[in-house]
C-alpha cells in the first residue's frame, strides 16, 4: 500500500533550517531522508519552505481570491512529505516514527488514493 507521510513541525524548527548552529538538526533530516531513499520504499518526497512562503488560492463564483500563507493557525505546520510503498500501516508507522519531527511535532500517515483503495473504502 502507498502512504503519504506528512511531517508536521513546530515553527521553531523551520527557523533552525538556516541556522548555522543547528547542524545536528539538519544532519538528522539528511540521515532520515537517506535511509528512506536507500530502503527503496520511497516513491517521492520533498521538504517544503516555511508556511509564510505559501500562497493560498480560492475560486468563489467567478472571483479569484489569493492570500498569503496558509490560514490554519496551528502550532505545527507541514514541513515536508514522503510517499512510501510498504506492506501495511504498521510498516508506514515505523518509518513515521523514525522522522526527526516525530519527537517535536508529529507525522500524519495517510493512505494514497488509488483505484483499489477507492473501491475498498466505498464498500462497507
Amino acid at each position: 500500500m502507498q502512504y503519504m507521510l506528512m511531517f508536521y513541525q513546530p515553527a521553531a524548527e523551520f527557523e533552525q533550517r538556516n541556522d548555522a548552529s543547528s547542524q545536528a538538526y539538519r544532519a538528522s533530516w539528511v540521515a532520515y531522508a537517506d535511509a528512506v531513499r536507500q530502503s527503496g520504499v520511497a516513491l517521492g518526497g520533498h521538504g517544503l519552505l516555511p508556511p509564510m512562503t505559501g500562497t493560498t488560492l480560492r475560486v468563489r463564483g467567478d472571483k479569484r481570491q489569493v492570500q498569503d500563507g496558509p490560514f490554519a493557525d496551528t502550532k505545527e505546520q507541514l514541513g515536508g512529505y514522503f510517499v512510501v510503498d510498504v506492506p501495511d500501516l504498521d510498516a508506514a508507522l515505523e518509518w513515521a516514527a523514525r522522522a526527526p519531527c516525530a519527537a517535536s511535532g508529529g507525522v500524519e500517515v495517510r493512505p494514497v488514493f488509488t483505484a483499489t483503495a477507492a473501491a475498498g473504502s466505498s464498500q462497507t
Binding site: D88, A92, P111, A115, T116, G120, T124
Partner: protein, 226 residues
Amino acid sequence: MTTPAAHHAAEQAARDSAEQAAHDSAERAARASYGRLLAILSARTHDIAASEDALADAFARALERWPADGVPVQPDAWLLSVARHRKLDAWRHSRVQDDATQTLLLLAGEMDEADSDAATVPDERLRLLFVCAHPAIDAAARAPLMLQTVLGLDAARMAGAFLTSPSALGQRLVRAKARIRAAGISFEYPQARDLPHRLRDVLDGIYAAYAPAGTTSTAPTPCPAA
C-alpha cells in the same frame, strides 16, 4: 399395525424433529464458531463487513439445507466453504474489472488454502482481537468491535453496556471496519514492543464480553469457549 394417517403423522414428526435438530446444530455452530469463522474470512481481504454478510448468508443457508440434507459432519468447514463462495459471488457482482482481478486472486488463494486443510478450521480469533486493538482505531470502538466480530453481538444489544445509543455505536463500528480496510491495518500479531498496550485493549474487550450479559436482561451469556 400402522394406519396411513398414523404413518403420515410419524413422518411429519420425524421431519419436525430433523428440522429442530438442524436448527439446534445451526444455533450451536453460530454460538461456538461465529468469531472463529469471521476471523478466517477477514484475514486475507481485511474486509470485516463483507465477511459478516457472507457468514450471515451461510447460516441462513444452513437453516435451509440442514433439515433436508442432514447436518454435515463438520459444520464449521461447511459454513466456511459456503461463506467463501458467497463472498466470491459478492465481489464478482460489485467490482469493476481491474480491481476485481486483484481481489479474485486473493480469494482464489484463500480457496486453495481451504482445500489443503479442509478438515481443520484454524482459530484466528486472537489475531482478529489484536486487529481490533490497533492504536489506529478509535479507542471507544475497540471493545465493541471485538464483541461484534468475535461473539457476533449487534450494536443494539451492546449499546447499553457502552453507555451509548445503538445508532451511535452502530456508526462507530461501521467506521472502524471501513478504517481497518482503508488504512491498511495488518492482520498480523503485533510486535513485542506494541504488545503490552494492545494486550490491555484485548483484555478490556474480553472483560466487556461479560458486561452485556450482566446489564441487559435479553442478552445471552457469551459462550465460554469464545
